[in-house]
């Protein structure tokens, strides 16, 4: 529970942590697009190397990175199996009764797996592991600011998201406390039929709702006391500035994209 409460942010003080969050969002979008550009073996190899470099630069222990992939492992295996068995081709590799595996299918399955891993690891290295959620919403607010022209309440959305994120750990902690308190009175959440287990949640949910409403009310009052009136004319305590490093990072990733396009054209190996 404690782990979730803190989110995935992993403070290792790397170069990636210091990049401007806006630039990281832009680069992450760029990187996602890049993963879909790759078409042949050379390009996928390049992609894989870029991901490994990203992990190395982020200085996040491999153990943590691997645990991040775990949730998508099933999806990955499923797509691999589907690709392996159902992609047709010319070069037959293996045949047994109705099962036919082609070389093309093998490549396709490997490509898919690499693409999923790179997508997950790439975005988490750039965003979730190296950027605090608050910085992330801040960056999104700034990047989406032009939408204000279309009367989209960007600031309000960002504020709502910030507040929601801010209260996730608080509510988690609260849930833990209430659960402990009810367990101390002999409540049992782990045994019994489905109905009795659902009923066992009542002693947790009611106090949790009561406290969530109380907190919301307190927060609204506290914000009003400090004259909060929405985004209009609001200045910021921390003003983000792009630094040289941010542009260097952008250049590196644009170069990677260009490299992939070149690899697609001049590289070798099976091409999808």
């Amino acid at each position: 529970m404690k782990g979730i409460a803190l989110g995935q942010y992993y403070p290792s003080g790397s170069v990636l942590h210091r990049l401007d969050p806006r630039m990281k969002v832009i680069i992450a979008v760029l990187y996602i697009v890049t993963t879909f550009l790759a078409k042949n073996v050379t390009a996928f190899a390049l992609l894989l190397v870029s991901m490994l470099l990203l992990i190395a630069v982020s200085r996040i222990p491999l153990r943590i990175v691997l645990s991040g992939i775990k949730p998508v492992l099933m999806i990955m295996l499923f797509t691999m199996v589907i690709n392996l068995f159902f992609v047709g081709g010319e070069r037959l590799l293996f045949e047994w009764k109705f099962i036919r595996i082609y070389v093309e299918g093998l490549y396709q399955a490997a490509f898919m797996a690499i693409r999923i891993v790179v997508l997950i690891v790439g975005t988490s290295m750039l965003l979730t592991y190296t950027t605090t959620p608050i910085m992330l919403t801040d960056a999104l607010e700034r990047l989406l600011a032009p939408l204000r022209v279309l009367h989209v309440p960007v600031h309000e959305f960002a504020m709502m998201m910030t507040i929601a994120l801010r209260f996730i750990p608080t509510l988690m902690e609260e849930t833990e406390k209430i659960m402990a308190a009810q367990k101390a009175r002999g409540a049992d959440f782990t045994s019994g039929s489905l109905v009795s287990r659902a009923k066992a949640l009542i002693p947790i949910l009611i106090p949790l709702f009561v406290s969530a409403f109380r907190r919301a009310d307190d927060l609204a009052t506290a914000m009003e006391c400090r004259c909060y009136h929405g985004g209009k004319g609001r200045t910021r305590m921390t003003v983000l500035h792009f630094h040289l490093g941010d542009f260097v990072a952008l250049t590196v990733f644009v170069a990677l994209g260009a490299g992939l396009i070149l690899a697609n054209r001049y590289g070798f190996g099976f091409s999808m």
Binding site: A181, A184, D188, P207
Partner: protein
């Protein structure tokens, strides 16, 4: 003699992450039966982690917790029985109320024990009376009560289980002086009537001095001192080292002593100080009369 014994207990939060924190390090001590033991320490000293070990809400990562000499984790499946024997009132317990009536809320614990309805009713009445809740309040919603009343309902909910050990984590936090006196007096009264063992967590030295027989002092997850209340408060310097003070009145007495007024050693309550002063004043009055 000792009701609960901790043997070399350690507890770590977030082991193996950058947020790793040692809440308790190799802590050993025991809690005397039929007595009120005070657990003091600064914020973050590990008090709240410790109380959750007493009733098996958390399992120590190393070491053992003994209740009447038996390891409470011997049969992990029966840990629920331990929780009925060691009643824990958590911090701000009023936030755990959830039933429609005060009566039903106090009955939640006894109901989980599987007691018959008439026994539950009797226990609810007894517990409500002990914490000074009016009978008329039993059919009200707990959410309509005042803060102090809610707190008493929550404590009654634990007392209704008739635990052998009653553990209270900051039972007086956030209450006005009258409210805190009332709750602590009632706890003392419960101890006297039932012969249970009571553990109170607090950082108010005044409360501890007035209501506790024994004191256990924690700092940064380690045991600093343990002993009878007067023995512990006699080590003012050691307490000061870990950021704790002796009660205000003891400091006043020490200052008076420094100015040559022969106040007794070991005064921790205003009442005791008043008695001592009265005696001293009486003595000087007598002297005055004889010289005249």
């Amino acid at each position: 003699m000792s009701k609960i014994t901790l043997e070399n207990v350690s507890y770590v939060y977030g082991e193996g992450t950058p947020f790793e924190m040692h809440a308790l390090r190799d802590v050993s001590f025991s809690i005397r039966e039929n007595a009120v033991t005070g657990l003091i320490g600064h914020t973050g000293s590990g008090k709240s982690t410790l109380v959750q070990l007493f009733n098996g809400l958390t399992r120590p990562m190393a070491g053992r917790v003994l209740l009447d000499g038996a390891d409470i984790w011997e049969k992990p499946k029966q840990i629920k029985q331990i929780r009925f024997r060691v009643g824990l009132v958590m911090q701000y317990p009023e936030y755990q109320l959830f039933e429609e009536t005060v009566r039903a809320d106090i009955a939640f614990g006894p109901k989980n024990m599987g007691l018959p309805a008439d026994e539950i009713e009797a226990r609810v009445r007894e517990a409500a009376e002990l914490v000074g809740l009016d009978e008329a309040l039993l059919d009200h919603s707990p959410f309509d009560l005042s803060g102090g009343e809610k707190r008493r309902v929550a404590i009654a909910g634990i007392i209704a289980m008739r635990p052998e050990v009653l553990v209270l984590d900051e039972p007086a936090a956030g209450l006005d002086p009258r409210g805190r006196d009332r709750i602590l007096t009632q706890v003392r009264e419960y101890q006297r009537r039932s012969g249970a063992t009571v553990v109170i967590v607090s950082h108010s030295m005044e409360d501890m001095a007035r209501f506790c027989d024994d004191i256990v002092v924690l700092a940064r997850g380690e045991l600093v001192m343990q002993g009878k209340t007067d023995e512990v408060f006699a080590h003012a310097d050691r307490l000061a080292q870990v950021g704790l003070n002796i009660p205000e009145i003891s400091r006043v007495c020490a200052m008076l002593r420094a100015r040559g007024i022969p106040m007794d050693e070991g005064i921790f309550t205003v009442d005791a100080a008043a008695r001592c002063l009265e005696r001293l004043l009486g003595a000087t009055d007598g002297e005055g009369a004889s010289t005249r």
